[in-house]
């Protein structure tokens, strides 16, 4: 009985993500998809810069402040989106109908509006009522958007823990709050972390959209470089490689974290 339930709930996990797939932590071979992509990206990036410093090196050296802005927006958005997603996830499975309604409405509304439209809305449309800087608008829009996606990830992760766990813990005298904190969440974390990590990586890629609000991120740096030199091919090649290297490194970080969380699982197998 418990087993079938477990299987069912495992099947219920919906990975709501458009991030790059996290490298498999059990993959120990030297050549795998991740190492191959990273090597290719780094070799081509630095190869291009060494062989043709003009214009490739010039393009690369034009970017650092853009990379800083991109990271700044991503990190700040993660700081807001993850707690927001967690609260939303809890709201979605809450027994309290009010919280459930609020959380579900939020997810439905935000999920149905493209991020680009949200950015325009917060920065340009709402400027009639209050004005926030480009970077703040970016962080607000991205956090709100990804908070909704992550809410679904948290909900699915928590829902995937078999009911028996809650029943056992409640019968041992834990309160519902204690059950959630000490029993459900530690187990749910393992299912939740990879997709949340994916969302964070997707978030970094989506920060490329903020260049529409005159925020000087990597993408905007590239566009203004192209605007003066008209080297479309060269510039966007470098930009693609820079984004690729960053996201590959991040996905490795997520995969290491995942491996740490699953330490005992892998040992016992």
């Amino acid at each position: 009985m418990a087993e079938t339930e477990e299987k069912q709930s495992a099947a219920n996990i919906v990975l709501v993500t458009d991030g790059g797939s996290v490298p498999n932590p059990q993959e120990f071979r030297l050549i795998n998809a991740w190492s191959l992509s990273l090597t290719l990206a780094i070799v081509s990036l630095f190869g291009l810069c060494l062989i043709w410093p003009e214009p490739y090196l010039r393009i690369l050296l034009y970017l650092p402040d853009g990379i800083v802005v991109t990271f700044q927006i991503t990190l700040m958005s993660i700081c807001f989106a993850v707690p927001l997603g967690f609260l939303t996830g809890l709201g979605r499975i809450s027994k309290n109908r009010f919280f459930k309604l609020i959380a579900s409405t939020y997810v439905e509304i935000i999920r149905g509006i493209p991020l680009l439209v949200q950015l325009f809305y917060i920065y340009y449309a709402l400027s009639r009522f209050f004005q926030i800087s480009g970077i703040t608008s970016a962080v607000v829009a991205i956090s709100v958007c990804y908070g909704a996606y992550m809410g679904e990830v948290f909900r699915a992760g928590i829902a995937a823990i078999p009911r028996g766990q809650t029943e056992a813990s409640r019968s041992l005298g834990f309160t519902r709050f204690q059950t959630m904190i000490y029993v459900i969440l530690p187990q749910a974390m393992r299912t939740i972390l990879p997709p949340v990590g994916n969302e964070c990586i997707a978030m970094l890629k989506d920060t490329a959209l903020v260049s529409i609000m005159a925020v000087p991120d990597i993408m905007q740096r590239a566009r203004s470089f192209v605007g003066t030199t008209y080297l479309y091919f060269e510039t966007y090649t470098v930009i693609a490689l820079v984004y690729l290297v960053i996201t590959l490194l991040l996905s490795k970080a997520v995969s290491i974290m995942e491996a740490k969380l699953n330490y005992y699982d892998t040992k016992s197998r």
Binding site: Y124, S127, G134, I212, A214, S224, V226, T228, Y230
Partner: protein
């Protein structure tokens, strides 16, 4: 008798049509695709039917008529407009492109068809006397336009904000998030004087000294097209069409 007359007329009519068709085929005018970024009034904008119009677009149409070719207009985002002409997605860029040395290295330009200066727009009630006074201010403009280049090259220490189109920059100026907007002078005039929403909120404050010239941009080495454009521009300037267009689009 009557019928034969009818038949004769019919035959004559058919003959004429056929002849017309033939002669049409003989001089089948070449059709060129024209790209304009329609966010730059009064030079390029969209009319009520979402078709490109404006000074540059109509000027080129007049040129085409004079030089005997046809054009098909497309609305293309400014950001990649030079890339598209380089790869041959369209033949001509008619989008208020200033002829600069940097651009001339990559593209060919027709003879100049319009002369402008850059202008700085400020909120109503403020004014500056030189670009130097932009130091420390947030100056907006359309990404990769000569206005941005002018502020950047002046090295006055302004915080430059590059927007996707100049309308968004002006929206931000009216909102108060930036302190100034730089763009081509006729565009500045259009926004400051002709847009009802912005009346009394913004004003044109400073004009740059250096003159810029607009040219139609084409892929490097297309001599035939360049020759046609220049021939047409010459005719349009001489036959009074230019004056009409200036009156139509720039007149107060």
């Amino acid at each position: 008798m009557k019928t034969s007359l009818k038949g004769l007329l019919l035959a004559a009519a058919l003959f004429c049509v056929a002849l017309g068709g033939l002669s049409c085929q003989a001089q089948a005018a070449e059709k060129y695709v024209v790209a304009s970024d329609c966010t730059w009034p009064p030079f390029e904008l969209l009319d009520e039917n979402k078709q490109p119009t404006g000074y540059s677009v109509e000027f080129l149409k007049a040129v085409a008529k004079a030089a005997g070719f046809e054009v098909e207009n497309r609305n293309i985002a400014w950001d990649g407009i030079f890339g598209g002409v380089a790869t041959g997605q369209y033949d001509i860029v008619a989008s208020s492109t200033t002829i600069t040395d940097e651009r001339k290295k990559q593209f060919d330009f027709s003879d100049p068809y319009f002369e402008i200066v850059q202008a700085v727009i400020l909120p109503a009630g403020k004014s500056i006397k030189s670009l130097k006074e932009l130091q420390g201010l947030k100056v907006g403009g359309q990404i990769a336009t000569t206005g941005i280049f002018v502020v950047r090259d002046a090295k006055v220490g302004a915080d430059i904000k590059e927007y996707d189109d100049v309308g968004l920059a002006i929206q931000d100026l009216v909102g108060g998030r930036i302190d100034a907007v730089i763009c081509d002078e006729p565009v500045a005039k259009y926004y400051a004087n002709k847009k009802q929403d912005y009346k009394g909120k913004i004003q044109l404050s400073l004009r740059s000294q250096e003159k810029e010239y607009f040219g139609f941009t084409i892929k490097k080495g297309r001599k035939d097209l360049l020759e046609k454009l220049n021939r047409g521009i010459k005719i349009v300037k001489e036959n009074g069409t230019e004056a009409q267009l200036i009156k139509k689009w720039m007149g107060d």
